[in-house]
Symmetry: D2
Subunit: 383 residues, 4 copies
């Protein structure tokens, strides 16, 4: 049984919409049945047709989609809606979808503001529907292995976390040009109060909390607009304190000229440390105080069920970004199916980012921007 | 418009069948409409149903599939048939499919013997149908870039090629156990005259000819059965001579304990060299005699159309084995559609392995095994 | 002509004393002629004898060394004195040596306090003698290349600097045990007000200013004592502002369990960035916004005179830590000889860390510790 | 006590002579007391003086050196003679030195021919003097660790060896130009019957036998002169059979354009494999069939006495080519001193390449060149 999937946003030319659709297809758990692909009805229509959808399932707006789909017979009606619009069009369609009985997959960051995030949290709870936020990096099997490894206690208590996310693509002033990605991501009206920190800082933040199992309690941020004329931050560094007393450093930059997208995390405990980076995504390095470091690999016979469940091929067949993204879609599908069938979902299926991650991510954005403006060193992580 | 895809072989538990199906789905160019997934009708049926096919499109045998599909209306009938059976069941279904008007995607090595390969070559030509052989590694964008780079002449005349394919998974005697992969790949009745050389040696051979644009003319092989009791080679090394006078070394092993699947190629010309390996698949290293080496990357703004056409995401979002495989499926689909529509296919679409690669691959197997038994150093590459 | 070298500190069992002696020998510019190797006369004597020194040139104290050597004939008397004692015995012997006409090589951090550092600066200037501070990492040829590359302007204006120095050897409480290194480095009476920040943080700080050619103007530090019972910091992270408006992040830790000593720097400008790390010391990566990254290598035909002057072997013969250290000794020797002979030293010879680096390093220590205690975010870099 | 060292060859401008002298100095076990640095008396003299030798210890010829030194008092006379001339001037000075009571360190390959090598073997035995052949790569601590690891049996019986030595510096025709290295290394009158195979093939051969503890028994070679006009081989590949039934592949090339000097070895046994390469010389990778690969590092607390004895600095302070070379000199010095003092040398001291390695190396050269010319596949390894 495939789940019936609808999409809001992600029309022609959108990077992340196409990624979501590939992710949904890889494991064959979904069938795309409808969409409102653009706020421009013409563009929505042409996008839908080129995706092979029938005319009557391509809508002019997300409101129309939700309204009309709701009226379809239960066995035809969309079940899961993916929302891949820019940040300022996250909250309303998500809320509407949930309230009308649809499960939702939403791109990050979750909302435009923390206030919206908290309201959405209530909606998710009251709706009883499932919700997934696409923090892709937690979908990598070796990131999951890192989390499980730390959880096992083998590294002892965690003491230090370094997480970094360097990009260089906004090194020049691209605003006002043809780069659509640059356009909305640097526009406070569409992105919210943060640029780099919202776009990739939240990924780094989420990764650090996911892997370590810890929560940030205080932070101290240096937030910069480096490129002249830009309206939102394009670079930042944040000192962190976690709830167990560990400290951390998060850096995110979009002006690290020459860097691609190599998000990386290192975590150190009393007995050893671990390191993962996207450019070598199928490797998890485990380092020890007093014995040789170990190279754990996707597909290894020794990895946990959380890693092996999220891998399709034998060791040595590299799986990448799209597969990590697909893991979110697949685990969400397995969980939704269990929900529909009234069955208990396996822990591995439920291991996808959800509403709590979203609220914490939005709190991160508000706190980190506040700290950036503050003259006081430590800002409490308010939520 | 999606192409209607059928599958022969690849039932439950088969590794490569699942890989083919993911590859077919990633770019949404195909719809799976029928299959004969196993020579065991029960297994074929249950495989087909779990894939969501209607009962009447799941067949008991490949013969039935071809016969019955042929009788369906043209706009319903399967268009492309993927054949993912063990080697000894390659030739007949492929021939039958082509002769009955279907395009074919076939897993490598192409046939059980060179004689079959040559006959198939005739069938492909006489049928006028398109044919793709899934040498996955030539689907990687940076492998394509390597080929284009050499073709451009920037390295000067090619002098030396090293290609290696180390695996360790057959280090122990797995035959007779539960490992199905080991079972048929070490069985002369199913694999043919070669084990390691047929399974992965052909990939290495194909990669070296594809990237360099050269043809092997002579070879000298050391072919070994290392694990006691095994019936086919599990290790080998081959000295090569190419048609421009260059020399090469090909190694393939399935008893390199601890190795996963890191196929790697290095090619050297008069002015520089290049290096690619699957474990870092999105990188192509270009080395120069007198200036710094360069790191070319999937998604880079500077890569050729052959690389960018085969990439879905921006630089720094690693694409892997499944995407490389999907590139074969997508390019084949684009070519088949052009064929159907009577249009001219772009050179980038036609850049998939075909019947000539298959014939040369089977010639490699026969020549390399002959050389392994010969006391003479150089064996002419007969075809 | 070899320079006559004396040594203060560095008796048997001392790590850094042996390193200094190897560094002095590698390029044959020095002859060890005397020493006061320990404050324990017995140990000084036995160390000197095992080094092959005559009894009358092995002294009981640095004071005796300076006093007695001064009375020797000019062509026999020591010319350069290496001081390799713990931090609290840096200032006095250095001052005494300079005032008595000897050139000095001193281990880092320069003194016990900034006040001492400033006084030493005056002494160096008034003495007219040469002074070298052994910030080893600036001795690596590819670090020098990085500096020259940035100086050339090819990266445009510098915007961001990341420098990190992770170690794990102080992850446990080693104080009071047999580890002499741990003993004095964690003792405020011997190390001064900083532990980790003085020991390795100063290296990272110096590296960032050397490579970038910039000066830190403000900082914001998170300074931690992680291991219970420890008296000095063993971990820290620092946000930095440089005098051109660039920002930076410096991390140094001795509780990053499993890490060895992989000091690493990344610098980004408007047009590209560069990266160097000690674990791959002979490589400098240059990254560009719009073309392939480049791998610059020690010994490459294309490197600057500053790199080639500091390299002994052809490309591909790795030179390491001891050679980097030897570069400081050799360049200092060449400069001292030019000084003695009244000649002009080449710019490449003068490219060793000196008194200004030492003063700034001590200012870093005082400012970073002050910032660690401050509730205000930014602390001005006072000097 | 330092050993008194003399040198034959290695005058100004010679690469390897300078390397030998640095190697001799690093650990302070030798004092250079005399030399005949060139067959040109003028050049010998100026080289000696610039090295700080007294006029009367700089000789016009190796014969003069040996004759005159022999007449000096025992406590002044040279003890160890380093011979660093081109290959055609290896045999005679070595024989003469040994016969006159001096210990000898000789650069590789050992002699001009196998016949000379065998005669030298007799001389070494009859002289009772110690002899070291400078196969540098066996001096690396992690190469020694590799040998010990295999010896321990942890990998099980060895099955496969890959050893490679790619260089690119002879990609063009440099003969007749100013490159002295190219001049003699491509001249059959100075190098002997082999070019690339003698210069670097012997290193690779020696490395494979040293690490594995096995002996080659048969080989099959493809030997090429790639650059037009060259008189000796500049490229080759060799299939190998070892005395335990294992097989191997050795490649050596000096026309692998863009390659520096990255000699690399991989050895596979029944249970796992290991890998070492010079470009990451302080790492030994251990790979397992069924558990994570391990990264063994120079200076690690867990390495054998053979590795730790040959390391000067803590983990994370990279030691390189010169230190590996120095390990040969130091171990030879420790062995010579034990010999002089009538004491038993430790196994770690005796772990340097000697006369047997030299004879086998010359046999490799003769057999590999013979095989290159043979039309028969396998050539017995005659000695």
């Amino acid at each position: 049984m495939k789940l019936r999937l609808g999409m809001i946003g992600g029309g022609e030319g959108a990077f992340i919409g196409a990624v979501h659709r590939i992710a949904a297809r890889i494991d064959d758990e979904y069938e795309l049945v409808c969409g409102a692909f653009s706020s421009n009805p013409e563009k929505s229509r042409s996008s839908g047709l080129s995706l092979g959808l029938p005319q009557n399932r391509v809508y002019n707006s997300y409101k129309e989609l939700i309204e009309k789909e709701k009226q379809l017979p239960a066995d035809e009606r969309v079940q899961v809606i993916s929302i891949v619009t820019p940040n300022h069009v996250h909250f309303e369609p998500t809320k509407l979808a949930l309230e009308n009985g649809f499960h939702v997959i939403l791109d990050k960051p979750m909302t435009f503001s923390l206030a919206e995030a908290k309201e959405l949290e209530k909606t998710v709870k009251s709706s009883g529907k499932l919700f997934c936020l696409t923090h892709t990096y937690t979908g990598y099997p070796m990131v999951k292995e890192a989390k499980q490894f730390i959880k096992s206690g083998k590294l002892g208590a965690i003491r230090k976390i370094y997480v970094e996310y360097p990009q260089g693509w906004l090194s020049s002033f691209l605003e006002g040009g043809e780069n659509k990605q640059a356009e909305w991501r640097t526009d406070p009206g569409k992105s919210g109060i943060a640029g780099c920190m919202g776009d990739i800082g939240t990924h780094a933040f989420n990764l650090s909390e996911y892997v370590s199992g810890l929560h940030v309690t205080q932070l101290c941020a240096d937030i910069n607009i480096v490129v002249e004329g830009r309206k939102l931050d394009d670079d930042g560094a944040v000192l962190l304190k976690y709830n167990n007393g560990a400290s951390g450093v998060l850096t995110a930059s979009q002006i690290a000229a020459g860097e691609e997208n190599n998000v990386k995390i290192r975590v150190y405990g009393e007995k050893g440390g671990l390191e993962w980076q996207q450019s070598d995504a199928n490797t998890l390095q485990i380092k020890w105080l007093d014995k040789p470091a170990e190279i754990w690999r996707t597909g290894g016979s020794y990895v946990s069920s959380f890693a092996s469940h999220n891998t399709r091929t034998p060791a040595g067949h590299p799986e990448g970004y799209l597969e990590a993204f697909a893991n979110l879609y697949r685990n969400f599908a397995l969980s939704v199916k269990a929900h529909i069938e009234g069955k208990t979902a396996e822990p591995e299926w439920l291991d996808f980012p959800g509403i709590e991650d979203g609220v914490r991510g939005m709190a991160f954005i508000e706190n980190v921007i506040a700290s950036g403006k503050s003259e006081i060193k430590w800002t409490k992580f308010n939520i």
